[in-house]
């Protein structure tokens, strides 16, 4: 069969369909957050639509729903393609979004058409990543961050996650997976950030804590599996849909919140800085992190540990605002004392990376020696769920790494039904892990996600410090907190609590 994709019939049909979409679409492209990146706009330009074929329906503009900490919904911009609904339902199994009403009144809406803040949305951001228009987008914090940056009385700290380093290049015309880590540090300094810390440092701390938990569980004969708590969207997912499994969830904070607590509660104090005058900004690929930063247990005296979270898309916008092209800059180094992490921390941005990093350190904790080859190939790969049995000392341990909330749900249901052969489960809300995060450059494909992951594994291959516990500064910090030495340096910096959450439907 021959299918013609450029016949007159096809072209007429395509042009007419886009004309129909445009006729019901608001004409405020210049005010649109997706300006320059809109698929509808590029379609209309490709098809050469330069005239209005229909009377513009003068529909009153509705305000977007900005109640969500991580995501903004602007239903007026929606072209009803239904991608968000399918991703939310089929891939993420959250079903926060659904098509309601019918005909021309069809709309994408949350349960009872209430705001996104009270919906069951976990803010993973996969819908925004795939939305062709600006109907779904991240809740931008660029303006707030810039206000803090230009404020001379505020010390603004940027903490950069490894997943951003390998995806930022795409926003500046680099090939997918290009490592811009060092250049980004320079760009952040030039943009006016007072200090740039490596979030990998906090990842190392979290890995050490989690590995300790795992070793303790194995030694105490605890039957429940240990579930990682590094992914804020997954934590919210468990709190909402699997509250009975919360005791299995590691009480370790996510790296972002460990870093925030360290900076605000301990580092500022040791530097003689008023925490009020310190603004902690995380740069990550996560939209759920925006929500996590606002959680009440992540605050001290009404002061959030992390003030703002910028996604990859937002930091690229901030650089453009400042006229910076990180590609052309020199490589810079992170600031002390959180200047660097092990390469085990870097690969945690990939699904399976957490498992690998934790296994490396747990092996050392349980046997006293490091494995000859630090790679655990069985937990790597592109499948959404990878289970394997690994040897930790004398124990054979079942581990699973799962990404995508739909698969997380399947596995959690198995655990709920009494499955007990797994001792360690890594859950990631976004397919492929943080490299496929909801805050990554728009229209990211799974191929791009894999490419970023390969880049991080290559980094791991070239790095000399490949174990979280080999990060000397991190180990010192862990010892310091365990022994309760020195004022604010205590274990509360690393730990958090969870609670069941009631959500509509």
């Amino acid at each position: 069969m021959r299918i013609k994709t450029r016949s007159q019939r096809v072209l007429t049909a395509r042009r007419n369909l886009v004309e129909l979409l445009l006729a019901s679409h608001p004409d405020d492209c210049m005010y649109c957050i997706r300006n320059r990146q809109c698929i509808l706009l590029s379609l209309s330009s490709e098809l050469g639509i330069h005239q209005r074929p229909y009377r513009s329906s003068r529909r009153e503009r509705r305000w977007p729903d900005v109640s969500g900490a991580g995501l903004v919904r602007d239903p007026d911009k929606c072209v009803l393609c239904g991608k968000c609904v399918r991703i939310c339902d089929e891939r993420q199994s959250v079903t926060a979004l659904e098509l309601t009403r019918r005909g021309r009144n069809t709309r994408v809406a949350t349960a009872f058409d209430k705001s996104i803040a009270v919906s069951r949305c976990v803010h993973c951001g996969q819908c925004a990543l795939n939305c062709p228009t600006a109907a779904l987008s991240e809740h931008s914090a660029v303006r707030e961050v810039m206000e803090a940056v230009v404020n001379p009385t505020q010390a603004v700290i940027a903490c950069v996650a490894p997943a951003v380093a390998v995806s930022l290049g795409e926003e500046f015309g680099q090939r997918t997976g290009a490592d811009l880590g060092g250049k980004m540090v320079t760009a952040l300094r030039l943009a006016g950030f007072d200090a740039v810390f490596d979030l990998a440092h906090a990842v190392d701390l979290a890995v050490i804590e989690t590995a300790t938990d795992l070793a303790n569980r194995l030694q105490s004969g605890e039957s429940r599996p240990l579930i990682t708590s590094s992914c804020p969207a997954s934590v919210l997912f468990l709190e909402q849909f699997f509250p009975d499994l919360l005791p299995s969830l590691s009480t370790c904070r996510s790296p972002q919140q460990i870093m925030g607590a360290l900076v605000k509660r301990a580092w500022a104090d040791s530097r003689g800085l008023d925490p009020e005058r310190v603004t902690c900004v995380t740069v990550s690929s996560c939209t759920a992190g925006k929500l996590e930063a606002g959680r009440p247990e992540m605050r001290q005296q009404f002061r959030p540990d992390v003030d703002h979270v910028l996604t990859t898309r937002e930091i690229a916008q901030l650089f453009r605002l400042c006229g910076l092209d990180p590609v052309r800059l020199d490589t810079g180094a992170f600031d002390q004392p959180f200047s660097g992490g092990s390469s085990a921390a870097a690969i945690t941005a990939v699904s399976g990376g957490w498992t690998e990093a934790v296994l490396r350190t747990a092996h050392w904790l349980m046997t006293g020696s490091e494995p000859r080859d630090p790679r655990w190939r069985t937990v790597r790969g592109t499948a959404g769920l990878r289970e394997s049995r690994v040897m930790l000392g004398n124990n054979e341990v079942g581990v699973a790494a799962v990404s995508g909330l739909g698969r997380v749900r399947v596995l959690m249901n198995e655990i709920r039904r009494g499955r007990s052969d797994l001792a360690f489960i890594e859950i990631m809300a976004c397919e492929g892990g943080c490299v496929g995060g909801g805050g990554q450059p728009l229209s990211s494909t799974s191929e791009m996600t894999r490419s970023r992951a390969r880049s991080l594994y290559r980094l791991d291959q070239e790095e000399s410090v490949r174990f979280a516990h080999a990060n000397q500064a991190a180990m010192d910090l862990v010892r310091k907190t365990r022994e309760g030495m020195g004022g604010n340096w205590n274990r509360a910096l690393f730990r958090t609590v969870y609670q069941q959450r009631e959500v509509p439907l």
Binding site: R9, T12, A13, N16, L17, L20, L21, A23, S24, P53, Y54, R55, S57, V79, L80, G82, L99, R101, R102, G103, R104, N105, T106
Partner: protein, 461 residues
């Protein structure tokens, strides 16, 4: 096996009359069909509110169960089929195969692309065969004929004795509106002139609107060409033909198109772009045409010309790109009218007046508001008050063509073709023609009971 009776509610008398008068035959057909395909479950989808048809089907099923003709191990044959009666959603689109399946599964009643066809993956993922009551009744009749060959048929053609009959509902400007059972192949002219008694006194037939809102318009000149139950024209233009609305010279075709477009706009599921946006823009453009383009900026003749040219293009695109038959045939009436009655459109667009007004013996008058905010029930007004905006609270004068033929495999023994949404529906267009609201049911004095029931059922919705 699914049997969709839901369209048998007010809109489609054809199914309803069958279910009310001979439920056993439909049930027998359903059982035979289940046996043929090896189905263990069969479902009648009936209107959600109590109707006589559903009651009778219930009773028939109860009787069949009592005599062990339905249920497990029918007549000790080892074959069993569980027949259920389920309420439908009453949605027009739930007549489409996949939309019906979705609504039965409790999902949105919107269609999905085929393949996989329902026969491959249907209700709850199981292979599903969907037929309308008329087909099933015909199956039962066939078995009663017991395969006797038609002596007059050519050797080897396999034709079976007796000519299948179809039920046709005729409404509009005829002397005797109602339901008639005719042999397949009867021409529409015979149906209208012989069965329905021809046009009302003092009027002449201008065209027929057949097959419901997503059906077709047949101009008077082609009445002999179109025959009941047989496919006519190109595959895109086939005619459901079970409902016939007779239009006289006083009927404005633009108004008719607008009325049907309004209905389709309110019944579109909103899934695919051409149908969701296309039906809306067609209705909008026709509104503007009928209002005489009185919005600011619309007086420009070039704009007017373009907007009507766009109608043609839009109709073609809907036909090419829609996912289901609602959108695919949604513009058929418009396209056929544009072809056969172009002069009426042109007079409306360029002279801002209605040809039907002058040609009819008693002129139809256009409401100056163009039906945007119609005054319901003002007799003699050509006011388009048939379906107020939003599609709710329809006037009791309108027998809404709600249900659609479940699938449209016509009960034709020699041919099995995939059918269309919209056949088997009956529509009265009070906005069409002069003395609009008086003749809807009052004229049907031959079946007052039925019409009252219909009107009551409609207004209670």
């Amino acid at each position: 096996v699914l049997c969709n009776v839901d369209p048998a509610d007010p809109g489609s008398m054809v199914h309803r009359v069958l279910m009310e008068s001979d439920p056993h035959r439909v049930l027998e057909g359903l059982l035979l069909a289940s046996y043929a395909v090896g189905a263990t479950k069969a479902i009648f989808v009936v209107p959600a509110r109590p109707t006589l048809a559903a009651d009778r089907m219930d009773a028939a099923l109860e009787q069949a169960r009592r005599y062990r003709l339905a249920g497990s191990n029918i007549l000790n044959s080892g074959f069993g089929v569980d027949v259920q009666i389920r309420p439908g959603t009453g949605q027009y689109l739930a007549g489409e195969d996949t939309a019906l399946i979705h609504s039965l599964e409790g999902r949105r009643g919107s269609p999905r692309p085929c393949p996989p066809h329902p026969a491959q993956r249907g209700l709850f993922g199981k292979p599903t065969v969907i037929h309308c009551p008329e087909t099933l009744a015909a199956v039962a009749t066939l078995f009663r004929l017991d395969g006797q060959r038609d002596p007059t048929a050519p050797e080897g053609s396999g034709e079976i004795r007796g000519i299948p009959t179809r039920i046709v509902s005729i409404t509009g400007k005829v002397r005797r509106p109602g339901l008639v059972e005719v042999p397949e192949g009867t021409s529409l002219r015979d149906v209208v002139t012989l069965m329905a008694g021809g046009p009302l006194p003092g009027t002449t037939i201008k065209a027929l609107q057949v097959g419901g809102p997503a059906g077709q318009v047949v101009p008077e000149s082609q009445l002999d060409v179109f025959r009941v139950g047989l496919p006519m024209g190109t595959p895109n233009r086939h005619v459901g033909s079970q409902t016939v609305v007779v239009l006289d010279e006083g009927t404005c075709m633009v108004e008719l198109c607008r009325f049907l477009a309004t209905f389709l706009e309110s019944e579109s599921c909103g899934k695919c772009i051409p149908c969701r946006e296309g039906t809306h823009r067609i209705r909008e453009t026709l509104d503007a045409v009928l209002a005489g383009f009185d919005e600011p900026g619309e007086h420009d003749p070039l704009w007017r010309f373009r907007s009507v040219m766009k109608l043609q293009e839009l109709g073609d695109v809907m036909r090419e790109t829609s996912m289901c038959n609602l959108g695919r045939h949604g513009a058929d009436v418009l396209l056929a009218s544009l072809k056969s009655f172009r002069d009426e459109f042109e007079t409306h667009v360029f002279h801002k007046r209605c040809l039907a007004e002058t040609s009819g013996s008693q002129g139809a008058t256009h409401d100056p508001s163009g039906g945007q905010r119609p005054v319901a029930g003002s007799p003699g007004r050509h006011d388009g008050s048939v379906v107020p905006a939003g599609g709710r609270g329809r006037s009791a004068h309108l027998v809404s063509p709600r249900g659609a033929d479940s699938h449209g495999v016509l009960p034709n023994v020699r041919r099995r073709s995939r059918g269309r949404t919209g056949s088997g529906t009956l529509v009265l267009c009070p906005g069409v023609g002069r003395d609009a609201h008086q003749d809807t049911f009052a004229a049907r004095s031959d079946s007052p009971q039925e019409s009252r029931g219909v009107a009551a059922g409609q207004s209670s919705r």
